[in-house]
């Protein structure tokens, strides 16, 4: 009897689990499907689930020189912001993890608090500063802002990863005559590489998807993919095939990154509060 109840519960859980998962994922699946339809098929009523797939929407998106331009901007901004933030954060996290002082805790919490500043609160000054320094609508300007908004998260995440490296290993290196610099680059970095990689991945995801500053600080020259997709909100968005193809291309890499690194993301997104 008990076994039977357990079995039926298990079937119920399976159905419920899959039902909700498919329902939540459906819009993404439909976008993927629509990207392989012709424009006529894409707006057919009722919508078609089975059809002759075509790559025409992708071909049209690729044909526009601007598509590569937007992708290039997104890659440059995301990679640039991530690389510079990690270069700044590694020494800081190393210092706080292995040379803690009585101010370390306060510094960490203060860094966290800078992340709490709502972007919209400083939209006006940042916009005017960017305009006055000719950084408006440049990849450099957007990358700097992305780097600054993500730096606290990156320092935090690296700090929690570095804390897991046993200090005796570093001390052993120092006993053998390694300088601080050698200790950091030749002992710590290889040991903490998986942690650094997942930190970089989180930063890439956040930069890639960042929309507030992208939409407000760029117009044409440095516009990234988020802004490119936003341009489909005009009546052009009714070309469902092209919208879907462009969107699929824009989200695919990040979706895969996200799937790979979900565990580590939790730590970064919650500042180590949930592991």
């Amino acid at each position: 009897m008990a076994l039977k109840t357990k079995n039926s519960t298990r079937i119920g859980v399976t159905i419920l689990g899959w039902g909700i998962a498919l329902w939540l994922f459906f819009p993404i699946f439909w976008m993927f499907l629509t990207s392989f339809k012709s424009e006529v098929q894409a707006i057919s009523t009722p919508p078609k689930l089975f059809f002759m797939p075509t790559l025409s929407s992708y071909a049209e998106v690729f044909e526009r020189a601007s598509y590569w331009h937007f992708t290039f901007n997104t890659v440059i901004v995301s990679v640039g912001a991530t690389a510079s933030a990690i270069a700044l954060a590694v020494p800081a996290a190393y210092s706080m993890a292995f040379m803690p002082s009585k101010r370390t805790r306060g510094t960490l919490l203060w860094m966290l608090s800078t992340r709490m500043l709502p972007p919209v609160g400083v939209l006006v000054p940042i916009y005017l500063l960017a305009r006055n320094t000719h950084l408006l609508d440049t990849c450099t300007g957007l990358a700097i802002v992305d780097m600054l908004t993500n730096l606290p998260i990156i320092v935090w995440m690296l700090y929690t990863f570095f804390r897991e490296v046993p200090a005796p290993i570093l001390e052993a290196g120092r006993m053998d005559g390694a300088t601080r610099w050698q200790e950091m680059t030749m002992v710590l970095l290889p040991l903490a590489l998986p942690g650094i990689a997942s930190t970089a991945l989180l930063s890439l995801i956040l930069c890639w998807n960042e929309a507030f500053w992208s939409l407000n600080l760029t117009s044409s020259h440095a516009a990234p993919l988020t802004a490119f997709i936003a341009s489909f909100s005009s009546p052009e968005g009714l070309f469902f095939g092209k919208l879907s193809a462009a969107s699929t291309l824009a989200v695919a890499p990040i979706l895969v990154f996200g799937w790979i690194s979900q565990k580590q993301l939790v730590r970064g997104l919650t500042f180590g509060a949930v592991k």
Partner: protein, 302 residues
Amino acid sequence: MQVVLDHSPPAGANVRSGKRTGFLLLSPSVLILLVWSIVPLVMTLWYSVQNYNLVDPTLHGFAGIDNYWYLLTDPDFLHSLLNTLVLVAGVLIISVGGGTLLAVLYDQEFFGRGIARILVISPFFIMPTVSALLWKNLMLHPIYGVYSAMMRAVGLTPIDWLARFPLLTVMMIVAWEWLPFAVLILLTAVQSLDGEQHEAARMDGAGPVARFRYIILPHLGRAISVVVMIETIYLLTIFAEISVTTAGGPGVASTNLAYLIYSRALLQFDVGGASAGGVIAIIIANIVAIFLVRAVARNLEA
């Protein structure tokens, strides 16, 4: 970086030099964040008490609290403040409530659980402009949208969601993005629950509801509070979803504080008024931030 290259004395020989190195390694990040957190803030405060319009050079000088007074008595502002609160509260209820239940569900073992989990958390990784247009056009378009087709299939008249219920629809789109975030965090927290405790409670005859209420919920307490606070910080600044779906309209029906500040600053060029709105947004976010920082601080000691 050069500075640490000088061959510092062996370990333990000089504690003071260790301190200095630590400080030097830390200072670039601290300095840059110090500038980033203070300069724009001071500028916003300064602009908020100035008469400053980018297209009206005749307007200048000290405005005192005029910008604030003008904003606080503006029905559009009050409406947008209310919309902001409704959006934040609505998305929080859906994502945290749903997220808790789904975390428990996806903690159960069932066939293909790993894949189902991946599908559930996926919407979180979709960039905001894509999710907004995906819903606006492919899903909810009154003629071509899938949901409209479904409604027609069961004999209902499709609804133009974004025109009839703009705020509610934006809320649903944003909730679709943030529910997976809550599931991701809360599932991690549920998994860290001690299995033995769970088993013991079941042995003592506690049903699933009792176990949820007295074991799982208390265990999730801190994770839920962290999710609430992090989401609040992001939700206070929802922008892209509104910008590409309704542009704040019709009227100000779906304008939140972030969109209002944007339109004051970059569409009406009213730097003073937009800055006053910015200061108010900062104050609201800070109230939330105090609680978040406290929660994380407690964890740092543990």
